[in-house]
Symmetry: C3
Subunit: 341 residues, 3 copies
């Protein structure tokens, strides 16, 4: 496949960027500041990498106006170079070769509907009541269970399982190994053993969401588990039953949200962070990596828990003291505190 | 499929509940306190939701006697409303349509045994020496590896992998993406590189266990990794080689147990909690979410580690001080402490 | 299959161990110190289990010279008993029955190359441009995506997904559910919504690596995500885009490394530990379980964060005080500290 080619002038015009350099220069791809060769576009967004600008070999650099003078190559000036670069890079993406049609090895139940413009890959299994809308692409080994819906232009990359009653919006992208619609963890303890609480709800995913590899989103116990539009989940995230995540929120890898928690819009949850059940997070709350949220957060802002990384020897001495911190505080005459719940 | 219908009187009698209301009233499902309509049963167990009782629209509410007077609809009085509700909800579950028999696309080795009453779904692969007992149900894309056993009435929902020497008891429920019987992480370091320690044991899972989506349970290095009866594992849990988990224990999402740890009976492990290797937890130990257990626990009770969530600005000041906590403690004349191991 | 049999004398000679006992004694397997019967070899490496030595029933025990006198059975004396045992145990491993050839149900694209000596299991899907080298073994349900390479003698146990542009070295072992080459989590925020940053790089895995069940390794955004030779990853590990992990490093279950972090050689990362993005860890850094690394580490050594596990009641009092630790420190006249970043 011949790589796509574009001129700098065409790119600048398309994305409304100021070009400082030769508009006729042709480029055929993107690369990092350190590696980009003479036919590639690169970018500078993170100031951490500014030192690499002097030695850049790229055809052009997407950057802020303030950095343009220090750039020895053509510049594409953007107020947000990362956003501009994302759009430019998309020009050079090799499209997944998805031909419309159902692979002969796929098993589609009589009661399922697959749009003529959808693409269903090898060994997919589509069960009764399922709907695959136009332009949707299912890679190999996907399961679309009973009464699930894959919205138009959505893509299940490979080996995605939608168990039951999972409805995806449009342009949803789901990476391999994700499981949506498994039973929530509902247990009632009777005398000396557990009883399973039936999980009868579904999962609703809005438009333009992305769901990472091996991420799990459980079906609701009664109502649905909900991701509003443009929610972005990284890999290995766990979303328990009846969670609701507001539009435009993003969760980094290995974050976990316990049952019936509600996360606002435009929230950011760091990697490995946890949010306990039945809590509410306001809009625009940021939780830093590996923090544990144990109570609702009503105010936007950034929240953290944990202790800093230290050489183990120092850490051990400090950690031993933490076990007696209340006593230490009382010694210095600090006022009594409500114990943490 | 017409929904099941039951009268309140029949339900009260079946589960031994006191009914306050019309025994002839027919119901056709269950729902939340907030959403249940006039033909649905709901429940009130968590006091957090008591405020919703006045406006309830359900046919009947399962609740404690103390809440009955405040309920404007029929009441089903239970000492444990959540247990009673779990049983009632099961009446309305849509049964998975599992016909006995082996799907023509499934590959069953000559040396495997599949009971006539078992159901094996599309694209399953069952290897030599494997046994699938009567009433077991395998959804699509399951692999039952060499010398594995799926006990009677057990269910592998979809895309479950039993690698080798995995024996499941009766009525075990395994959700999609779970991997049982992969090699434990056994490494020996020789001079300048790793040597793999062969993993030769299996996995034994007792009756009535539930194993969540994308959970992993490794085979033992020599002996087996063991889950006793009625162990309940949520999603994305990691159980390392030669762990033993006592009957009726439950672990929430993303918990992890390192090699050769032994967890007692009736333990509760919170989401994201970790238990280091070779430790022992007594019966009835509770570990709160995201705590790390670094030594054996001999007494029942609740255990925690970590620090509270705070606005990041305050947290940063406190966290910086944690690095010098030993010095602070010495300043106030606290007795020296054994460093944490 | 008749189990392999070896004499103690042959084993001692093969691995250069001193034998104290009858060289003609035949053994047919390995087992734990507690369980090994009279035809089995066992080992003593962890002093924790020394008390079991007196009652050992094994044919022979692999142990250090210092423990030999206390052993009532034959001894195989080794400077590192665990390494020696690992090699001995490998003699008794039941080999996976992998016949060369492509299972008739596997779908191999016309533009893919599968070596004659490779084994491709049922329902595998191998896409255009993929290469499977000689002696490689693919269990059931593996996907080898476009332009991926599975090096000679590598093994994908079952249901492994290589999405695109993933190149595995020789003798790489990948456990079920692992996903390599999914898109990294690249997002740019434009005004009020997310834009996906195209992920165009690949994944490069060196020789002799092991990758655990349900582990995820994302493709690079531009350059590649790299594991050097002999890197060992346990289950459910998350490796983000453009991470680089140095040779001979090992990460325990549920560890996570954020984007563009660089980990040195011979590093050890404990279970559930996290490493933030764009950081660098020197060679021979050890991070203990569930610690979070928030800044680069330039010196070898062991590093930790977190607080010790305690009974919840005591923990709550101490945790409440942590929220005011800066104030406590100021009361005792400790010098002001730079807030933790």
């Amino acid at each position: 496949m011949t790589p796509a080619q574009h001129t700098l002038g065409a790119i600048a015009e398309r994305f409304g960027l100021e070009l400082r350099g030769d508009p006729a220069l042709r480029v055929d791809g993107v690369d990092t500041l350190a590696n980009a060769g003479a036919t590639r576009i690169t970018f500078l967004a993170n100031p951490r990498y500014r030192g690499q600008l002097a030695g850049v070999g790229a055809a052009a650099v997407v950057l802020r106006a303030a950095d343009a003078d220090a750039c020895p190559r053509a510049c594409l000036v953007a107020s947000d170079p990362y956003v501009a670069f994302a759009k430019i890079a998309a020009l050079f993406e090799r499209a997944p070769a998805a031909q419309p049609g159902v692979h002969p090895s796929a098993i589609v139940a009589a009661g399922a509907q697959v749009a003529a413009g959808a693409s269903v890959g090898p060994y997919c299994v589509i069960e009764d009541g399922a709907v695959v809308e136009d332009g949707a692409v299912l890679g190999p080994h996907c399961v679309v269970g009973r009464d699930c819906r894959v919205g138009a232009q959505s893509r299940l990359v490979a080996r995605v399982t939608l168990v039951q009653d999972v409805r995806l919006g449009k342009r949803v992208l789901v990476h391999p190994g994700a499981v949506l619609g498994a039973d929530g963890f509902g247990l009632a303890f009777e005398r000396d053993h557990w009883i399973k609480v039936p999980q009868l709800g579904g999962v609703v995913v809005g438009d333009d969401c992305e769901i990472g590899a091996n991420t799990t989103i459980d079906r609701g116990a009664l109502g649905d588990t909900v991701l509003e539009d443009d929610v972005r989940l990284d890999n290995q995230i766990q979303i328990a039953h009846n969670v609701r995540i507001g539009a435009h929120s993003a969760l980094a890898g290995c974050a976990a949200v316990a049952g019936s928690a509600t996360i606002g819009r435009y929230c950011l949850v760091g990697g490995g962070a946890g949010i306990l059940g039945h809590l509410t997070l306001a809009d625009r709350v940021t939780v830093t990596a590996m923090s544990l949220v144990t109570h609702s957060i009503r105010e936007p802002g950034e929240y953290s828990s944990g202790t800093p990384i230290q050489p183990n020897r120092q850490w051990r001495r400090n950690a031993a003291r933490f076990k007696h911190l209340d006593e230490i505080a009382r010694r210095v005459g600090a006022a009594p505190k409500e114990p943490e719940s």
